[in-house]
Structures are given as C-alpha cells and as structure tokens.
Symmetry: C2
C-alpha cells in the first residue's frame, strides 16, 4: 500500500467560453463557467500521463487524499494514490466536477451574472455532452492535448463514453464502469420519482429557495430512493435483514423498527447537509437525457471513436445491470475497436464501483500500463 | 366466457368482538370493527363452497362485477364470475376488505368512538394476523365453518397463509400468489421510503389531516415508488422505452419529456383520489411486520396447518420474486403437506397476479375441483 495523499486542495478554473458564453446542447448559452477540480501526481514532460476521473450523480472533484485537517478522504481514495490502481507515482490524475453541480462548479445554486441572484430553475438544462464539453476547456487549460485515459463509474462512465465520442482525438483510452449508453424506462422512472419527491416539497418553491429553507424533506426521500437502487437485494439482506434497531421487540408504531429503516433515514438526512436539491434535479435529468446513440445507431456512433476501451460491470448491479455493459462491448467489437471487458463478481450492487477495490485494482493497472506503453 | 356480475353491492359487517373490543397483536384493543365485503355466487346448503378472496395493499372488497351504474369492474373481475377461474356458478366467493383500510372497513380515517373524531395516528398498529382475525368474525357471521379456499396475491397471499396458520380447522385449501412469508430488507426499504414520502408532506400533519388538505403530494410519490416495483424492467421498457410524451423532441425542461414520467405522475395523481395516506402507512407497516415464522422456524409453523396449498409465482416478479414462493413450497414439502406449485412465465412483474389471467385460469379451476371433491 502507498502513502496517503495529504494536503489535497480543490482548485477552480473559470472560463468564458468563446464567444464569451458556452453554447449548450439545448441551444441555451451560459457563461462564465467555473469547474472545480483536483489533481494528484505530476504531469510528465510530454504530458502523456494524464488520467481524467469522472464522478457519479452525487460525487465531486474530491476523489482522493485528504483535505487539510479532514479525517475523511476523497470518494475514490482507495483507487487513486501512490501504488494504487491509478498510481500517482506514474500518472497525473485529474478529477473534474460537473457543470450543473453544487460542489464548486457552475450550477443552479451559482449566482446568475445577469440577475445577481442564484439561478435556481433559470439555470439551463445541461446534458452529459455539456459536462464533457466544459471539461474539455479545463483539459485545454491544463495544456493536455491527449488524455491517456478517461474513467468513471455510473454517470462517470457515461461521461467517459461521451469523451470518446465528442473528442475522439483527445482520448487514448476509456474505462467505463457500471454504466450505460442510455437510460431504460425503469432508470428514468426511478429518477423521475426522486425528482417528484423534491418538487413535492413546499420548501422547494419552484427552485427558488436559496437563502430560505431548503427542501430537505424532498431531497432526503430522493436520496433514500437512490440508496435502495445502489445496493443489491442480497447486500441489503446481509447488512440488515429484519434486524431491529436498538430494541429487542417490535414497537408497534411508526418509529424505525428495523435497522434498514434507520439506515435509510440517516442516509437521507446526511445527504441534505451536503447536496443541493436543484443540482439533483439537473444532474438526474442529464442522466435521463443521455443517449449515446441519439444521432445514429450505437455501432456507427462508436465507429468514430479512436480510444481503447475497458468496460467493467458487476454481477449484482441491478440499476446498471451487466447487460447494459455488454451492449456497449458488442457494439465496440462490431466497430472493430480494442475492447477489454470484465464482469466482476460482486454482492454490492451498483455501489460495487466504489467498494470492489480488489477486483478493479487487478484489472486496471495492467490495462493502463498497456495503453501507456503504446502511446510512447 | 361467462356473463358479467351486475348490480354488485358492497356490504358491511360490524362486530363488537367479545368482550366488546378486539385485542390486536400489539396488545391494543379496538372496537367496534366494521369490515366491508362483497359476495358473488350462492352459498350451497352444506356451506362447503365458500372461497375467501383477499386483496393487496391498495385493493378493496370490490373484487368482481359492476356496482350499479359503474363502467369499471372489480379488481379481479377477469378471475371471478360465471365460468371464470373462480366460477360463481359453482362457488360462493367472498372478498373481504382489511382492518386498517379506507374502503369501508375500520381504519385510521374512521371515527374513534372514544373521541368522536377520526383516529388518525391514534389508530392502533394492525398486523396481517389482525386482518385475518377480523375476517374470521365475518366468516363466522356468514355461518361458514370451513372455507373451501382462501386466496390472494401479494398481501392477499400473506393473508391466505396467515389464515392457514391462525385458523387451521377453518381452511381446506389456500392459493398463495406472488407472496412471501416475510419481507426482506429491500421490501421493507421500499415501503419505508414511501412512508417517509407521505410523512414528509407538511399536509400530513402527523396524520391529523381529515377535513383539511390531504397529503396528496406525499401519497402520490409513495404510489409512484410502488408502481416501479409492480412492473418488471422489461414490461416497463416494452410499454414506454424512451418514447417521448406527446412531442417529437426533448423540451429541455422539467416537464414530462418521457412517457414513463407522465404515466407515473398520472398513477400518483389518480391514486390520491381513491386512497387514504394513513391507511397506506398502516397497511404497509403490517406488511413489514408480517413474519409467518416469527414464533419458530417456518417448517414447524407450517406443520400445524391443515390445508392443501397451491403456490403461484411469476418469473419477472422482482418485488416478490419466485425464490420467496419456493421457500414456502420447500417448507410445506418438508412438513409433508399437499402442495402444488407453479412459476408462471410472465413479463408483467408483480402486477402479473392481476393480469396473467390465462395462466392462472388454467391452474386454479382443476385445483379447486380436486379440493372440492375431497371435501364431499
């Protein structure tokens, strides 16, 4: 095991995209745009060792190491660092937050320069394509012409896929974990119910709640719905089963009888401390809009990419099941691309991309090594 | 096909259980208790042809036929009637509502005789055992000593199982469809999130909303969550996929872009017109509390039953998956009981018990015929 990355700092890059505003997929314009990001390791002289890490719905730029004084590390710390799967002794790792978010990047909670007040629902709809387009400005700013790798799980995997399609010349390889080229009706449905939970909260106020009471009850319910879909049925059963919460017998009331009830309530309550409800709406909508094959069939779209691919899925993931990864793999093979795929045995459901460290750490380093050698 | 049952009427039986109040599993007392019920067909002279139909969470006593002037039939009309699976030319079919409900039976929206106002959360917690205990009063009132069959899907299946355990002498056979002997952590989790959605609605007011604004937003979200779990991923995909709702292209806003979004919103909105939020809380809680093997292992509990069993499950039901039915079948076989089981191929998910008419109609009539002959 390597040393921990200490004194990590989140950085911010603000760009006024030419001709001063970034044009979004919807046709709307926005600017200036700030992206929060972090970097770990050192960019080599020929700038050939850069890896861009992309996060999931509720993630942020703080992927690894410790902020000064923090006891909690970044969300993928066990994957990124010296001698870890993304070895910062070898690679320069960048993690970028997304446009639409609430973790230092421009999003609905940012101040609209035209009004001087937070955007709220005046913020334009953003898509995964827009997230990637904004990140390209950041990568250009860092002076990197070609990324060795783009990688992410869940929505991060969608961004990685989009990078290979939007900027085929700028990506040598992509690691796409527990992702999909488009949402099914059921995936849209789960997101829609969570959005409805937020919008049903009277404190939501049509998105205009900044400086007032935040819609914490609605966001909490949204998070609870999400949490059920992130865990597998079996992992939930192993962790909680029908265990009672701090009591020996049923209480016959509406308090938390079962541990799983208390766990969900805790997950909901703690989420509202760290996430903005409007960002949840915007980012979940971006997920639903995402459709890599929107402008043609998947094979023809992927044919234009120039990256190598590593596609990883997990056996017990029912939110982004392995079939969705296999669809990507099949289309890449038909397109004649260099594609490696693996379905990792895991009981952790969709959360596996965050916690199945051993399995992913076996596959990823030799894959990166192979790609890195090829670029030399 | 047979004739439709016309001019069906819901009836009400009110009993003051000795010693005037019914003692619930929690130890609380309640009384008097009213149960809404309907009957179809004719009870024969020796009262040996009675079948008790039990409904699911949001069901009611109106299982078959048409109320005078109604265009919509009961919820299992395609299964109950002349020459249908439950043939009312042969059998006397009773459908009983549950205690805790809001469809004419005593529940949280009923007036508490001690206060003269609706119970709200003063209503005691009821369990599936209590539902069945109350139904036994109804069956006694109808003069039936032994039911030919008890049958139900989902929560109805749990009640059917409970009947065989609570009143082994009063049941010749049970048809248990898409049910379980206890909820897993995931099943509890889905119910808990739905409850939290209701309780997060400020209009819920701690359950004291009768005569005021009902918590329709919370109940609507609860229903939407339920609906996702009732359909299979594939049936949702076939029905909706990524089809847009009444438009040719994405609108890039938070209106319903996708048909599945509109469908869920409609399901939520229409549900609040016909169901009481507090009843949803009480009945979902009863489901979570249900544990047939609470007082021993499942085999020992089922050993004391005296009924024959038909256990039906559906391949695509992920809310009450076939494994849960197989657990019941295995325990019944170990107990040496007469058990028939079938897993019906269906794409409809948990909803299959309501819509897979052909499959169920092939299995059920010969099964009932066999049991009926044996009781002669």
């Amino acid at each position: 095991m390597g040393k921990e990355l200490l004194n990590v700092k989140t950085q911010y890059y603000t760009f006024a995209a030419p001709p001063s505003e970034m044009i979004l997929k919807s046709g709307e314009k926005i600017g200036p745009v700030t992206l929060a990001y972090e970097t770990y390791g050192t960019l080599n002289k020929d700038k050939s060792n850069a890896i861009l890490v992309l996060h999931a719905l509720s993630g942020d730029a703080h992927a690894a190491g410790f902020h000064d004084g923090d006891k909690k590390s970044g969300w993928w710390d066990n994957m990124i660092g010296p001698n870890k799967a993304f070895d910062t002794n070898k690679y320069f790792v960048i993690c970028s937050n997304v446009i639409g978010g609430c973790k230092g990047s421009t999003g609905p909670s940012s101040v609209n320069p035209k009004t001087g007040t937070p955007y709220g629902l005046q913020f334009p709809i953003v898509t995964v394509e827009d997230m990637v387009k904004a990140q390209k400005h950041l990568i250009d700013h860092l002076g990197i012409t070609k990324l060795l790798n783009v990688v992410g799980g869940s929505m991060g995997g969608m961004q990685a896929l989009q990078w290979t399609v939007s900027f085929p010349e700028a990506v040598s390889s992509a690691i796409v974990i527990a992702a999909s080229v488009r949402h099914t009706a059921q995936q849209i449905a789960f997101n829609e119910v969570a959005r409805q939970a937020i919008m049903a909260d009277p404190d939501w106020q049509g998105g205009d709640y900044y400086g007032k009471t935040v819609p914490s009850r609605g966001l909490s319910v949204a998070r609870m719905i999400g949490h059920i879909t992130y865990m597998s049925k079996d992992s939930m059963e192993e962790k909680f089963g029908r265990k009672l919460k701090g009591k020996k017998s049923l209480t016959y009331d509406f308090s938390s009888d079962f541990e799983v009830e208390g766990y969900l309530r805790h997950q909901g309550d703690s989420f509202v401390q760290r996430f903005d409800a409007n960002s949840w709406l915007y980012i979940s909508k971006a997920l639903d809009y995402f459709n890599l094959a929107e402008r043609g069939n998947l094979v023809s779209v992927l044919s234009k990419t120039k990256a190598s691919f590593l596609i990883i899925s997990f056996t017990s993931d029912w939110l982004y099941p392995s079939e969705q990864s296999k669809e990507i793999v099949k289309a890449l093979k038909i397109s004649g691309k260099d594609v490696t795929d693996i379905e990792i045995n895991s009981n952790y459901g969709h959360d596996a991309f965050l916690v199945e460290i051993e399995g992913q750490s076996k596959i990823i380093p030799p894959y990166l090594e192979r790609i890195f050698k090829r670029t030399k």
